[in-house]
Amino acid sequence: MSNNELHRAAYVEEAYELLAELETSLLELEENLDDMEIIGTIFRALHTIKGSGSMFGFDDIASFTHDIENIFDKVRNGEMSVTKELIDLTLSARDHIKLMLDEPESADKQKAGEIIASLKDLTPQIISTNEVKTSPAPPHTVGNESEKDVTYRIRFRPPVDIFTRGINPVHLINELYPLGDCRITAQIDAIPQIVDINPEYCYTYWDIILTTGQGINAIKDVFIFIEDDCELDINIIDGGDNLDKEDVQHNLEDVFAGQGYVTNEDLPAITGSHKRIGDILLERNDISEEDLQKSLDVQKPIGEILVDSGLTDSGKIESALAEQEHVRNTLKKKDKTEQVSSSIRVASEKLDNLVNLVGELVTVQARLTQTSASRNDPELFLIAEEVERLTEELRDNTMSVRMVPIGTMYSKFKRLVRDLSSEMGKEILMSSEGADTELDKTVIERLNDPMVHLIRNSIDHGIESPDDRKSLGKPEEGMLNLAARHSGAHVVIEITDDGAGLDPEVIRGKAVEKGLIDQNAELTEKEIFALILAPGFSTAQKITSVSGRGVGMDVVKRNIEALRGSIDISSKKGEGTTITLALPLTLAIIDGLLVKIGTETFVVPLSLVEECVELTGEDISNAHGRQIANVRGEIVPYISLREKFLINGEKPDIEQIVITRVNDHRVGFVVDHVIGEHQTVIKTLGRVYKNIEGVSGATILGDGSVALIMDIPKLVQNAVKEEALINAK
C-alpha cells in the first residue's frame, strides 16, 4: 500500500469515528437544544471531516461537509438556533457522508444537493460554497475555562514539496483551531527572491501558540500524516504553573529588599509568570544571549531594537509577542495544569494477535504446571507457580485492553429508535443505563444484529401508538430502556419497554397452531414466552418493513447462544416486556472446570457451575431409573455424559455430578472425575465439526491433548427435546 493509500485509509477510519461522534452529539443535542458544548463538538467533528477530507483528496465529502459546517458555525456564533428540522437534516447529511465513504459511486449527488438546499432553506442568509470564505473558525470558547488547559508552543515547518503531495499546510494548521484558543504566525523569512523561488515549494513555516485541554496527542494527530517529513516542535509553555521555587524565593527576597514590602502588583515580578520577549526569543534560539544583552543596553522596546538592528525578523517578534499575550491572557483566566493524554491507537489485528499469543502462553503454562507437579521438584514447582501467577495477570490485562464500553452501541441504537419511531408515527423515549459496562470487542460487534432486532421488535410489536396509549391511560410517549451491568463472569443486558407486553394465551394458541407444542402441554409463563424464540414463530397480525416475518427471534437466539450467552423473556400483558441477555465477558479465554470420562477430558465453563456432588450406585437405584438426584432435599435432573457421548469402559463406583444453572434451572452432568479449574483458551473446531451440537469448541491441555468444551445450554435443550419426544410417544 502506498503512503497516499495509507493516509486515505487512515482518513476513512477517522471519518467513521467522527461520524459516530457526530450522530451521538446530534441526538444529545436534540434533548438539549442550547448546549453549547455539544454544538462545539458537532462543529469540530464536521470541521475535521471537511479539513482532512480535502487534504486527502475526498473533495466531494469536503465540499458537502463544508456547507453543513458553515451552518453549525452560525449556530455556534448564536446567529441561528437549533431546531428539530436542523437536527433531522444534519443526521441525513451525516448518513450521506457515510454513504460517500462506504460506496462513493452510489452516493447520489442530487440527494446531496437536496440536503444542502433544505439546510439553506433553514438559513436563507447562508453563503454558497463558492462564496464561502475558507477562513478558520474563530477560537472556540467551549472548554477554555477548563483547569486542565495547557498552553503549547508549536513550530511547524512542512517539507518544501508539501504542495506537490497534494497537501495544503494551511488546512493542517487550521485543524488546530477547534482544539482550543490558538494564535498562528506564519514565518516568511525563508522565502527567496522572485527569480530564485520555486513557485511550487512551500517556504513558509509557522509558530503557533495553542491553549488546549485535549493533550499533546491531539496536536500531534493534526500532523500525523506528515510527521515523519516535517519539523514539528511542541513545547509546553510553563506560563507560571511550573514555578521554580528557588526562583520565586529569590525574586521575593529581591522585591522585599528593594521596597521593604510586597503588594499584588509585585506578583508577576516574583513568580516570573509573564516571560519577557527577550526570554521567549532566547528560549526559541531565535537570538543569542549576546544579542539580547546588547539590545537591552538601548532603552527601546526590545522587539523594535532587534528588528532595527537586523538581528531577527519581524515575524519572530510577532510570534513572540503573540505568545506573550496569549500566556498573559491564559493566566488571567485560570491556573492551568499540565495534562498530557497517554492513549494510543492500535490496530485491532494486533490485539487479536496478542490475545492469541497469550492463549498459547496459557497453554504452555498449563503444561509447565503439570510437569512441575509430576517432577516433585520444589524449585521447579515454585517457578511454575510464579509463571502461573504472571500468566494469569497478563491474561487479565490483555483481555482488559480488548474491552469496549457498551455505550458505543447505545448511541447507534438511539438513532435507530429515533428513526423507527418517527417512521411508525410513535413517540418513544430511549433511556440507557450502564454505558460504561465493558465487553470484549468481538462480543460487542456480534451483539449488534441481535440487539437491533430486539429493539425493532419492541418498537413495532411492543410499544403502542400514541392514540392507543392515551386510550389505555398510558403516557403518549413510550419508553424503551437499555441497561447493562456486570454479573459475575457475565454482562447482563436488559431491553425493557412499557408497551403492550406479551399475551401468553395468544402465544400458546399460535404455538399449538404451528405444531410447536401439544394442545395439552403444561408450560410455565416463562416457557410460553420462550416459544417466541422458536423458528417461524410470529404473532404479528401484519408483516411490516420493520419486523413480523418470524425469521428474527430464532436468529437472535442463535446469535446470542453462539456468543455463549442466554436470552430470557419476562413480560406482563399491558405493562411491557423485558428481554434479558446474559453474555460472557470474553470469547477468547474462559475459566473452565476440567472433568474426565473414561480416558477423555472435557471442559465445563466454570461460570455455569454451581457445585459438584457425588453420585453413588445407591443414589441411582433409589431414583428408579430416572436421571434425577436428591441434592440436600432438592431434586436435580442430570444428564450422563458417558451415555450422551457414547463413551465405552467401566464407570467408577462413585461418579461426580457437576451441577450447573441454565435458564434458572439446576441441571447436573455426570462425569467420572472432576480434575479441577483450568484456564481454557478457546479454539474453534473448524468447519467440519461446526454442526456438532453440545460442543462449543476445544482447548489444548498441558500435555498437548485436546479437550472438548461442552455447550451446556445446548445439551440441556437437546435433553428437553428428547424427553418431550419420548413423552409424546
Binding site: K133, T134, S135, P136, F163, N168, P169, V170, I173, N174, I184, T185, A186, I188, D189, I191, P192, Q193, I194, V195, I197, P199, E200, C202, Y203, T204, W206, I208, G303, E304, V307, G310, T312, D313, S314, G315, I317, E318, L321
Partner: protein, 118 residues
C-alpha cells in the same frame, strides 16, 4: 485560468491579475511578477477580481516584494483587495503589526489586512 494586464500611468504601473491565484497557476504567476520587475519602478498590484488565493500565491507576493525592496523599487497592493484575499492572509497567519526586517519603508503587504477586513 488567470489573465493579467499591466497599465501604465507614467512612472507607476498597475498590475491587475484575475482568476485563481493558486498553486495550479504558480509558475505562470512567477513569470508575470518577474516581467513586472523588469518594467516597473513603482508597481501597484490589483487583485480585485481574484477568484481564489492560496499560500503559494502569498509566498510569491512576499517574494516579489522582497525583490522590489532590494532593488529600491516599490510595490503595494491596491486598496480594494477582495475579502477572499484578506481571508487567505488571515488563514495563513500572515497578519502583521510590524513589517518585515528587510524593508524600511513600512510597506509590508500584510500589516493592514486585518484592519481592512474588520
Amino acid at each position: 485560468m488567470i489573465d493579467f494586464k499591466i497599465e501604465d500611468s507614467g512612472s507607476e504601473k498597475t498590475l491587475t491579475i484575475n482568476g485563481d491565484l493558486t498553486i495550479e497557476n504558480a509558475t505562470a504567476l512567477q513569470g508575470i511578477f518577474i516581467r513586472s520587475i523588469e518594467t516597473s519602478e513603482h508597481l501597484t498590484i490589483n487583485l480585485e477580481n481574484a477568484s481564489a488565493v492560496d499560500l503559494s500565491f502569498l509566498q510569491l507576493l512576499c517574494s516579489v516584494h522582497k525583490t522590489f525592496t532590494d532593488l529600491n523599487k516599490s510595490l503595494i497592493l491596491s486598496g480594494t483587495c477582495q475579502e477572499i484575499f484578506r481571508d487567505a492572509v488571515k488563514d495563513v497567519g500572515l497578519l502583521r503589526h510590524t513589517g518585515c526586517g528587510f524593508e524600511c519603508d513600512k510597506t509590508c503587504l500584510w500589516t493592514d489586512q486585518d484592519k481592512e477586513s474588520n
